[in-house]
Assembly symmetry: C2
Homo-oligomer: 164 residues x 2
Amino acid sequence: MTTITNRTYDELEIGESCERVHTISEDDLQMFAAVSGDHNPLHLNAEYAATTPFKQQIAHGMYSGALISATFAMELPGPGTIYMGQNIQFKRPIFIGDTITVILTVKEKRDRKKEVIFDTTIKNQNGKVVVAGEATVIAPTEKVTVSLSNLPTIQLGNHAYDAE
Amino acid sequence: MTTITNRTYDELEIGESCERVHTISEDDLQMFAAVSGDHNPLHLNAEYAATTPFKQQIAHGMYSGALISATFAMELPGPGTIYMGQNIQFKRPIFIGDTITVILTVKEKRDRKKEVIFDTTIKNQNGKVVVAGEATVIAPTEKVTVSLSNLPTIQLGNHAYDAE
């Protein structure tokens, strides 16, 4: 069974960061369409998307938000983190096949409420910032290790969805 | 085939709003876990969640963001909207079985760039604000009707995922 361990408020240092890399697949867009309810053809239909200013299918903006939130939950600070708020700016489109890097960096610690302000940036494979913003979380005060739940088995059309 | 029609920048009026109602299922949490990569037991494991301050499984915070973004894309202003940014505060947890209402309200129009500032609020079935915030979008200038793409057929474990 896979486990993950958090970083506590006291352990976090200003300037500390973590990165998560993900390559965007068409399946990701289909899955995000299903779970959000946004099935506009700009995200799902290559022929339609070719007629738009973007020229090709783009990922839903808030799919980036989902990846940022998961990086807080899984990596830094990890289990026990309470997500209080996020400010997110969508700077450039993300296309199928792009390899993006989510970068979370500790900017500020507020001792009274154990709040931590993180810079949240996503860059694409060309080093361009596609998403900018910052988040406020309450960091865990106790060191914990949790056993991750298994991801469900998902069949998308006629093939398995690879959740990782 | 289902079509949707947008509201253009010129048509939008200050104070105009739209609502989207959704009841949260355990399947929604499983799907969001898969697409985001956050499979912490707080969201997926009832026994574990019972040991946390929340006492039961809670929806991923950014699942709310996904529902807000889909409401912009599907309802107001709809097709052609460009999502520029979102500020979101997670005020209260959302539990399985909660019926939440996403409410988007036009707050401000900025003619030069055709930007519209929306208030974005989510309330639960008790009328409590669970999510607050605001968004900036560029509203479409041309009236368009688009044909929605079909949602994929998704099998979650041994049953179909109902995407609506």
